[in-house]
Symmetry: C2
Subunit: 745 residues, 2 copies
């Protein structure tokens, strides 16, 4: 058991090995990847898994706080990397001690996914060759999500030792600090010095001047010579600790963060939080934190018997996904990298509704409601976005931060400094139907129709209105067209009449009208008020329906043309795969412009099959799956999970399972090779769907009742998972390809 390699205090807290993700060797090349894997999120804030003693390199420490965005010189408002409290520097004989110190031995870091703890130990030698044992525990409290805690244990093995320590808050961080072309500092430090307890740093974001206060204090038997010694942009409390040979000394570091989003008095709030957490004490806080994780896992666990690797990977995936959203704030969302890295600015994409949201809808409906509410709060911004682009209704931005403005930049800058016009925001409109789809799915699963009454119906109608306004009549085709869009496959942009986009536009209009009719029956007063508010008349509704009925759609009896003209592109199919079983671009396509070859970045027609599985016959679905699979490079981490989920439901077991592995292990194995920038939220959520909706076949039947069509892989003897079904916690067991639903204890 790995936990037995720790001291008793840590060992008594850690879970058994199958709940631990362990890094057993320190490898500088892998540092940034482990920092992503070992990132912790309290629901309020995150802290990447940088080494506590801060001697590793390269390192990209990151502290993100939900809703704290800033643009400054960046291309977009992005989650601001805030001062890093998660550092405790240790010096022995004037030398900093850490993983890069000479004589590193017995290195282990382990993420305890059951209890939400990051534990580490190693032994290093000081300048005189005397060995020092360093052990640590880190957590971001689930019980008090604005608080973090580090326990550091130091043991001199070969003689007495004197330790000099620094309790730091490091304000020298920036976004993209190691990428100077994009490096942006998103805050200004306004105070750096002494707090009522320990050190205190206050800053504000540069654009909106949102204040953020960070306090940190240390406790430990034998601490002496405390001195507050801020310097530059580093808050620092210096202190001494003696230890006799073989004696373990412990330091507890408590940190607390508050922002102007929570309180008018951030320093007052930080002080109170620190007073409270230190009064409770570290032992109590750890216990409360672990209890909270037990509550989470009671609902979130997905047990797979017969496949230990998949089991651990899914717990890893679920751990990070469930830890990230803020249960107490419905004005924030989830970024594509969760809060574990700096790519994509922490923005809400379609990834939220179509990949991440279903997990929460089924397992944590209150969090799902928050994520849906986020879009509701930004409905006015979406209306503004539609108007500014010449459309009616509400058009959700491709990338959404706090304001709801479009954050997707119009220019991308290449590594060599060349600028390329980026058309994603201009053309990739299908996010708007995704927002509507996620909302409707949430209501259908949870039965929480109050959402429609609050803002949901209005959102559905306004997005339907957008799609109607997005269509143009073609005399030639005698049909409505959606021209110049980018579908899910971003390598063909822009195209006309992308099947996915057109079909989802129709879905959006029909669903909006259906739900309006339903409310006209159940709450006619409210339905009328909503129509009045948005000046919606029956004439306009009829116009939408007419357009939806007359929209151009390709022939769907055979292979469906992804967009108009796709079949005219000289064909090519994938015939080679790399050592990670990833498809390789066909020779004939290499060097061509993307628009001139048929290869897809990611699932497009197959993505529609995932969302609307009853739209096409299974035969047609298989035909299309076969066709597009041969032409899809899966360069987006969103693609494999869709292929897994659709594949297994089509009976394509072996191929589906390859995609499931690829998707489930995306961060464990770093198979997209960009783990340093954070985890892959959509892949994580999509994998959960692939198992639960795909392999376990959970779905709503035509009456909206819970139904299952399980098809477990041979090597899986049993799968168990939990859902909240219409307000009740249920345990679902899939065994012998039969589903049993029982009340959850």
């Amino acid at each position: 058991m790995l936990r037995n390699t720790f001291n008793n205090e840590i060992a008594s807290l850690l879970a058994e090995d199958n709940w631990l993700l362990a890094q057993e060797e320190y490898d500088r090349q892998e540092n940034l990847n482990w920092e992503s894997r070992f990132g912790l999120v309290s629901g309020y804030m995150s802290s990447r898994g940088s080494e506590i003693c801060a001697t590793s390199r390269p390192t990209l420490p990151a502290t993100y706080i939900h809703g704290i965005f800033d643009r400054s010189e960046a291309f977009m408002r992005e989650l601001a990397n805030m001062p890093d409290w998660a550092k405790l520097k240790v010096y022995v004989n004037r030398q900093p001690i850490g993983v890069e110190t000479e004589g590193l031995e017995d290195y282990l870091r382990a993420l305890d996914m059951k209890n939400g703890l990051l534990a580490s130990h190693y032994t290093v030698s000081d300048a005189s060759g005397a060995r020092i044992r360093v052990e640590s525990l880190k957590l971001l409290s689930r019980a008090h999500p604005q608080c973090g805690l580090i326990r550091l244990y130091l043991t001199p093995l070969d003689g007495d030792a004197h330790f000099e320590l620094e309790n730091l808050i490091d304000g020298t961080v920036a976004n993209f600090i190691d990428y100077p072309r994009f490096r942006t500092r998103h805050f200004e430090i306004t105070e750096n010095g002494k707090g009522k307890l320990g050190v205190y740093m206050e800053c504000h974001t540069r654009d909106f001047k949102t204040p953020v206060g960070i306090g940190a204090c240390v406790e430990g038997e034998g601490i002496s010579s405390r001195a507050i010694k801020p310097y530059g942009e580093v808050a620092c409390e210096f202190f001494d600790l003696h230890a006799k040979k073989g004696q373990t000394v412990r330091v507890d570091k408590f940190a607390a963060i508050a922002t102007g989003r929570d309180t008018d008095g951030v320093k007052w709030r930080v002080t109170r939080l620190l007073e409270e957490v230190t009064t409770r004490g570290a032992d109590a806080e750890i216990k409360m934190h672990i209890d909270k994780y037990q509550e989470l896992w009671r609902m979130a666990d997905l047990e797979i018997e017969g496949d230990d690797k998949m089991q651990k990977a899914m717990r890893f995936n679920i751990f990070h996904l469930m830890s990230t959203p803020n249960p107490y704030d419905d004005r924030v969302n989830i970024g594509p990298k969760l809060m574990h890295g700096e790519e994509y600015g922490g923005h809400a994409y379609w990834d939220t509704e179509l990949f991440c949201l279903p997990f929460f809808t089924w397992v944590f409906p209150k969090i799902a409601r928050n994520l849906v509410n986020y879009r509701g709060h930004l409905l006015d911004a979406a209306r503004r976005n539609a108007r500014d682009n010449g459309y009616l209704g509400a058009k959700y931005p491709w990338e959404s931060a706090d304001t709801g403005d479009e954050e997707c930049p119009s220019w991308s800058v290449e590594y060599d400094g060349t600028c390329t016009r980026c058309y994603v925001a201009d053309y990739e409109h299908h996010v708007t139907s995704a927002v509507a789809f996620g909302l409707v799915d949430y209501v259908r699963v949870t039965g929480d129709r109050s959402l429609f009454e609050e803002f949901g119906l209005e959102l559905l109608l306004e997005t339907a209105r957008f799609w109607s306004s997005r269509m143009v009549w073609s005399d030639k085709k005698q049909a409505y067209e959606i021209l110049q869009v980018t579908g899910p496959d971003e390598w063909h942009e822009p195209v006309d009449n992308n099947y996915y986009t057109n079909r989802m536009a129709v879905w959006n209009i029909h669903t909006a009208v259906d739900e309006l009719k339903a409310m006209q029956k159940s709450r006619p007063d409210l339905a009328a008020a909503i129509c009045q508010k948005i000046a919606l008349t029956d004439d306009e509704i009829n116009l939408w329906l007419d357009r939806a009925a007359k929209i151009y759609l390709p022939d769907t009896t055979g292979v469906i043309e992804q967009f108009e003209g796709y079949f005219d592109i000289p064909d090519a199919v994938i015939t080679q795969w790399d050592d990670k079983a990833m498809p390789i671009m066909p020779e004939s396509c290499v060097g061509k412009e993307r628009k001139d070859h048929p290869i897809l970045k990611q699932a497009d027609v197959v993505m529609l099959m995932k969302l609307l599985p009853d739209e096409l016959s299974l035969e047609v679905q298989r035909l299309n799956y076969d066709y597009y699979e041969k032409r899809t490079l899966h360069r987006s981490s969103l693609s494999p999970s869709a292929h897994a989920q659709v594949g297994v439901q089509l009976g394509l077991d072996e191929r589906a399972y390859q995609y499931l592995e690829r998707s489930s292990y995306v961060d464990i194995d770093n198979n997209q090779r960009n783990l340093r920038e954070g985890l892959h939220a959509a892949s994580i959520g999509g994998t959960w769907q692939a198992i639960v909706m795909g392999y376990c076949g959970m779905h709503l039947d035509k009456e909206g009742e819970l139904a299952f069509s399980p098809k477990l892989p041979e090597q899986w003897s049993k799968v168990r998972f939990r859902i909240n079904w219409r307000g009740k916690d249920k345990l679902v067991t899939i065994e012998d390809n039969k589903a049993t639903v029982s009340d959850l204890a």
Copy 2:
């Protein structure tokens, strides 16, 4: 020839190998030592030899500016480590390139002592394995001492490369940054952004608010995408450079510094300096810089034929010593570590007058005059210091910064945080006679009696007055005593009647009275005015002379008792030496308090023999040398050079030569093991004296005329050096133990 391993542009500038100090292997353990050895000083400012691409570690970059002191939370006003302009970061494929990058090969750094250039080259591999050649040249312009220049050459060896670069001014530095107990930030940044040329950072010291402006700009063919991107406390100009395979691209970085000590408009001045240096261009600046070093070496070179190691070491020593003082500013001095490290705060100690000053007095008398003037400017502070300690006259502080206040702290803090009362400032009074001695030596050698008229006589009289007031009458001894002092040997403190201190007090009084009498003859008006200014009467002068006559001095016919009671300490002698031929503390003394054993830290009686060689007969000197050598541990780097100089003049050739080696190689070999904190100024100056005054026997005879008593080591066939003798540049050649003095071409 090492220079031939560089590209043609660098090779054409570098000297032959015997003028180069080369680091041929990159070794992380040795980084901080090489940073000291490779520190450059323009006379105005210094820059330690940190790697330009800033990837080495550990690293202690330092930028000191003469006269820019600050105390803040430190124990004393110390030279403030200012923002570091000497960095140019390079990224290839998003990875910083530098000495810690994978695949380091062909590493070489070489200090060209002839031309004042620091050159380096190495090859590293980028993330893809493609090799990049990096070459650089750094200088702090001797022609325009407020300007620095870096030339960086980049050559991709295996394919085209795109470089992302950053022209940085790093304001995150602090004094003792890696020693948190003492870490102090001495400035506040008041501006960080764009200059008229490139980036500009302005800060001020924290106590006195002295403004310091630093500007830096880059030039180079092909530079594109320039963007000023300050973040936090780092000024940053980002830019791109492309290079084809095998093509070398060059970047010239120019930097300029101005302070409130020079100008009321630091930003204006920095802008002008940058405009001027970029208008001249790097080639012209390098040429002017090298020409200036040729001028310096014309006077400063010390040629030793027959001993290449000693030759190189002496050029290394002289290079750093002559480069450090400011030729244009007589309110600044020289610190014990020169400007190459952070120990001792850059303060003037007795090291200046007795160890460093003679080199300048003989070789660069204008600089010597500046160093002496520094004490003159601080005469009022010395009077204040005497008064505050209950004495009359002028008492110079043991450690002197810009204000002349005593900067030697009353408490020292040990590694484990314990505080010890430090009595050095209370008891070590002999610095006052050293100041007088250096001044008088300067006048006697240079003949510049104007010094006496300006402030020198007043200084002599006031220091004499201090010594008189420092004495107390002993009825028992029927003599005046100086009680409770520390002599040069700091391991016995405090003691009564330290022979060195008492004897130098007498010297100070006699010399002051002699020079007053001389001026009463040559300039009676001025002599009277001086006496009137300091209210000095004949009665008081007689009192001084009476005290000097009646001071307690030990028996000087045999072994002289270092201080009263020294002979009562249980005796012990050194019988063992370590592998570096350094004496080892006798067993019987280990664990004893220093006052309870007879072992000396450094030359004390021998030091007096160095200063007043005619005071004692050669026989008595040999007796004392023998006696004290056996009891001296040379734990101060000041000690070996004194033993070398005195030893050779006493005919103790072999022993003297060991001390000479130890002293001359102190920084080349790091034999005091504290090179990381800077070079050893007193050892450097003392070694020059040991060779020139000791081995070459240069001295003033009784008539004050130039005289020589050479005793070259056997392996030296010839020594040549240059002096300025009463205004004329002379070449002194020592060969066959005869001296020839000729006019210097």
